[in-house]
């Protein structure tokens, strides 16, 4: 008999989705699907717009990672201009990207995932939320807010407080950094690093408690896809594409970002508005890969900053050998990246050329096609534009970090459902784990679908005939 369970508060992911679990005759899980139910439209309504509008337009795709879109879009425009931006302009863009990464990862860890990590997946859902965290671990909650505040402050010092920052522009940035601002930013970073280090130390003490989850939360052999620096190190702004397999073999390396179409195909399914990117060489759906913090750390030879390199070494000790397979460890990877981002911001701000006044190359469009790729907090972000003689957009393709992870997220919920869901006795804690594995990826469904309206998250349990026998809804 069908029944509906409603849980408040709403789920802790960026956007709205539905999960369906298909049951066999004996009540076992036979299939699991992650549905993005929001309409997708950004690529279409950008057509006809001047290409110089694209950074501001696409930055509004998301309230959490506008800087990522701003940078990928401007990089695509740099490509259209056929310019190399001045080195200081690039360094300033890098700082903004790292500040964005810091605040986005802080939101994911401190505010979206910490209720599960601190209270447990089976705890009372009434208090398993951010207010529960504030009461149980107020210092941790304040640290999360402070880290976000520092990241946002640096972004505002660079880009201004206006909602439509026009500081990053095609060709570079439109204003050099003042010494006063540089010094003010540098003052913030020691506190940020202390917060990041103590949070990382605290989380390391929690990890052994989650062995079961680490074994079942998207623990599967997939490829890993990310940018790496020319030396093969951790990279978030530029560099080259690397694809590594589950055993650690590098399948593709030093691929220029504008050749992404050689590596990636995009499939569509009728149950979701989110596309299903796949690694072309292995076909669809076999060519499953992951992006984001886990993939970046798995792909990087090193971070290149002192504390983050120690943390990276400890990250690799989570498993006996090879790339870390469990998506549960996205949380761990996020904390390592926060440490890296803060250390790297400090290094860049102390660079003797950071106050250089040459920060922008000026040109008109010099080609009809531009591709910009950067690492957003959730993974590799790709903007690809075509323009006409008047500089008007004729075609757009955006591949969003969350989209890259679509196949992996679907496979992950199947694994969690197999391990935890008893179709004959649906419990909230079981379904919370199904959701929690999605939270590991910190999906931004608004970005991935370019949301138009809202839908609550729902989990539907279907019998062998496809009839809904149980539903859990949130929102």
């Amino acid at each position: 008999m069908s029944r509906t369970v409603t849980i408040e508060p709403v789920t802790r992911i960026e956007g709205h989705a539905r999960i369906t679990l298909q049951l066999g005759d004996a009540g076992q899980v036979e299939d699991a699907k992650f549905h993005l139910t929001q309409f997708r439209g950004f690529e279409k309504f950008c057509e006809g717009r001047p290409y110089r509008e694209m950074p501001a337009l696409t930055a509004r795709t998301c309230g959490i990672c506008p800087v990522s879109h701003l940078l990928a879009s401007n990089k695509a425009c740099d490509h259209l201009l056929s310019v190399s931006i001045p080195p200081t302009g690039e360094k300033l863009r890098r700082i903004m990207n790292l500040a964005q990464l810091t605040q986005s990862h802080a939101l994911s860890f401190f505010h979206l995932s910490s209720p599960d990590l601190l209270m447990g997946w089976d705890s009372d859902p009434v208090s398993r939320n951010i207010f529960g965290v504030m009461r149980q671990e107020p210092a941790l909650a304040k640290d999360g807010i402070r880290l976000r505040q520092i990241g946002q402050t640096i972004i505002e010092m660079l880009g201004g407080k206006k909602i439509h920052p026009t500081w990053v522009v095609p060709g570079g940035v439109n204003e050099p950094l003042s010494q006063e601002k540089r010094d003010a930013m540098l003052k913030l970073l020691p506190e940020a690093l202390e917060i990041a280090k103590r949070t990382y130390a605290f989380f390391k003490t929690l990890v052994p408690k989650f062995k079961d989850e680490a074994d079942h939360f998207g623990t599967m052999p997939t490829l890993f896809f990310s940018l790496v620096s020319p030396k093969g190190n951790l990279e978030h702004y530029d560099g080259f594409l690397r694809v590594k397999d589950a055993k650690g073999n590098i399948l593709e390396d030093m691929v220029p970002p504008w050749e992404y179409e050689r590596l990636i195909g995009e499939a569509v399914e009728d149950f979701s508005y989110m596309k299903f990117p796949y690694f072309k060489a292995q076909g669809y759906p076999k060519g499953i890969y992951r992006v984001g913090p886990l993939a970046r750390l798995n792909n990087a030879n090193a971070c290149g900053t002192p504390y983050a390199d120690v943390a990276l070494a400890e990250f690799h000790m989570l498993q006996e050998s090879g790339p870390i397979a469990s998506s549960f460890h996205y949380h761990y990877a996020r904390l390592v990246e926060i440490i890296y981002a803060i250390e790297m911001m400090e290094r860049l701000l102390k660079d003797p050329t950071i106050l250089d006044t040459r920060v922008r190359a000026r040109a008109r469009s010099n080609r009809y096609e531009g591709i910009g790729v950067a690492e957003a907090p959730r993974g590799t972000l790709m903007h690809h534009y075509r323009i006409d003689d008047d500089g008007l957009i004729t075609w757009v393709n955006l591949i969003i970090a969350t989209g890259h992870n679509n196949l992996a997220m679907n496979q992950s919920i199947r694994q969690v459902a197999d391990a935890y869901v008893d179709g004959n006795n649906l419990q909230e804690g079981m379904l919370n784990r199904v959701e929690a594995v999605i939270r590991c990826y910190d999906p931004c469904l608004s970005c991935a679908s370019h949301a138009f309206g809202q839908m609550p998250l729902a989990i539907e349990l279907k019998d062998a005939a496809g009839h809904i026998v149980d539903t859990l809804t949130r929102g």
Partner: protein, 155 residues
């Protein structure tokens, strides 16, 4: 008295930009001592730290539940149950509840909203009726900043 004014909304969704545009207008003028104005696409968690040491907060937003152009001012109280359906933006009452829970206090707060008429994507302009509403929003803000508030009590 420290006052933080926060205008929020999407600048590419037509009248949804009422909040940030009203904030921009305020910022372009002369602000009384102790008043700070910021604009945001959405309300996010770090604003809690900015709010924690304020005496008063005024949120500026567009609304869909009032007639286009109609302006409303209401007192806000912290509310843990006012949880947004999306994790990347917060309801102002939830922000105040974060403040109260974490820092033991929340500023006296008001929400000034104006009804929007069009929220189309990729629209950078306000409708005429929304444009006219900005002046009324600013009148409310000026009263709140300069006088004792006469806005409705929390419901």
């Amino acid at each position: 008295m420290k006052t933080l004014i926060i205008g929020y909304g999407s600048p590419i969704r037509g009248d949804d930009a009422l909040g940030p545009l009203a904030a921009d207008r305020l910022e372009a003028g002369v602000l009384p001592r102790g008043v700070e104005v910021i604009s945001r696409h959405v309300l996010t968690a770090e604003l809690v730290a900015d709010l924690a040491d304020q005496d008063r907060a005024i949120f500026l937003d567009a609304a869909v539940d009032v007639e286009p152009g109609e302006v409303r001012c209401q007192r806000l109280a912290p509310d843990e149950s006012a949880v947004s359906t999306m994790a990347h933006f917060l309801d102002p009452r939830e922000l105040l509840a974060w403040c109260e829970t974490l820092y033991g206090r929340a500023p006296e707060s008001y929400l000034v909203t104006a009804g929007g008429d069009s929220f189309d994507y990729a629209s950078y302009e306000l409708t005429p009726v929304a444009e006219q509403a900005i002046d009324k929003m600013l009148e409310y803000v000026n009263r709140l900043v300069t006088e004792a508030c006469e806005a409705p009590q929390p419901s």
